[in-house]
């Protein structure tokens, strides 16, 4: 499937949309994007930074002519990847596992069983985790996940299947 055709460029307005549009998108989607990011990076502060950074970069000419939610989600995914990459470099020798429950308070709020799931999710390879978050948190269709992640739909399906199988192996005994 041709992914290029999903970004309608031929009919797009010539310049970036007015500032008001960006502000409206920010108001409307900020919290949702922070929630997406928190599942990818594990803690609220970093998640908020990622989203702030995405919008700060969208000023001026760096913006695509059609600014969609899918595009914003791709930006959050990319931002989260950068954060995790930096963090991995930093923690390589000290601590391997990142915890998706960032504080004791959060751990209590969500409960031990859910925390085990999130821990297992955090241990997955980056793409597998992203695919699961987009599928089971955002409830996106394969085609939408493919668009946001920038991969083909068949890759989405195989990645999701592998991720689920791995989670099942890690958490299976709890069921």
């Amino acid at each position: 499937m041709d992914r290029e055709s999903q970004w309608p460029t031929a009919l797009a307005p010539p310049g970036p949309p007015p500032q008001a549009d960006l502000a409206a998108l920010y108001r409307e989607h900020r919290v949702g994007l922070v929630r997406l990011a928190v599942l990818l990076v594990g803690d609220l502060e970093t998640a908020e930074d990622v989203v702030q950074d995405v919008f700060a970069r969208l000023h001026g000419r760096r913006r695509p002519p059609d600014l969609t939610l899918a595009y914003l989600r791709t930006c959050v995914l990319n931002g989260s990847r950068s954060v995790l990459r930096r963090r991995a470099v930093m923690l390589r020798r000290t601590q391997r596992v990142t915890d998706l429950a960032d504080s004791a308070e959060t751990a209590v709020l969500i409960g031990e069983s859910r925390r085990q799931v999130l821990l297992a999710l955090a241990r997955l390879p980056r793409r597998q985790r992203e695919a699961l978050v987009l599928r089971y948190y955002l409830d996106l269709a394969d085609s939408e996940i493919a668009l946001v992640m920038g991969v083909g739909q068949s890759t989405v399906r195989s990645t999701t299947a592998r991720a689920l199988a791995r989670l099942l192996r890690e958490l299976g005994e709890d069921d």
Binding site: Q19, L22, A23, Y26, R27, R30, V31, V34, R35, L36, V38, L39, L44, A47, Q52, D53, F55, A56, R57, H59, G60, L100, A101, T106, L109, I110, G111, S113, R114, R115, V117, L118, L121, L132, V133, Y136, Y137, L164, L167, L168, L171, G172, D175
Partner: protein
């Protein structure tokens, strides 16, 4: 539907719910690469402090000033001749000592009285926001900074001329202790720093130490 999928949905939804809804109306973040507004304003204040002095010094030596130079000279009378500039707190302010908000009428009165009472101070001139803004507009060349700045962003200030031989650092330090002062600049020191190597540059800026 397999249980692992349900557990995933449930765990992720629970984690996401720990991110609270917005209780504040968040402002859109500023473009990347620009400094926070507070810093830009501080920079603007500093730019005023330094560049006006430059204007004044250009205007000074001319025996028969052209209309342009005369006009610059007027600005110089209000601020450029200063040896020490005492900037007042604005609201909001990037300076630690200004947490209580803008300088109050009482604080301004007090600053003026204390400065005038000093024996090393020859003249004290008050510079309002409008004058500061006009000076800033005339001297600033950064168009983005110019566009983002209004008269309201400019700090009010007292400009001090000292008696010959007085130590501007002492006056600056003393002024920085007064409540309602955001920071104090030793203008001569700043001017000299322009020609000093980085390692030997002196401290010319004295932030207020709190109310």
């Amino acid at each position: 539907m397999s249980t692992i999928e349900d557990r995933l949905r449930d765990a992720m939804a629970a984690r996401a719910r720990t991110v609270p809804d917005d209780d504040l109306d968040h402002a859109l973040p500023a473009p990347r690469g620009s400094r926070p507004r507070g810093l830009a304003i501080a920079a603007a204040a500093l730019a005023v402090a330094t560049t006006i002095v430059g204007v004044a010094r250009l205007a000074e030596p001319s025996p028969d000033p052209s209309p342009d130079a005369r006009e610059a000279g007027v600005a110089a009378v209000s601020s450029g001749w200063a040896d020490v500039s005492v900037f007042l707190c604005t609201d909001p302010s990037p300076f630690e000592g200004c947490r209580g908000g803008a300088a109050t009428a009482w604080e301004k009165e007090n600053i003026s009285r204390v400065l005038r009472a000093r024996r090393d101070v020859k003249t004290v001139t008050f510079e309002d926001r409008r004058t500061a803004f006009e000076n800033f507009r005339r001297s600033e060349t950064n168009s983005r900074l110019l566009k983002a700045t209004t008269a309201e962003d400019m700090p009010e200030s007292f400009r001090l001329k000292l008696v010959p031989g007085a130590d501007p650092q002492a006056a600056a330090r003393a002024a920085s202790d007064l409540p309602g002062v955001s920071n104090v600049v030793d203008e001569g020191c700043l001017r000299d720093n322009l020609t000093r190597a980085a390692e030997v540059q002196k401290q010319c800026n004295f932030p207020d130490r709190g109310r």
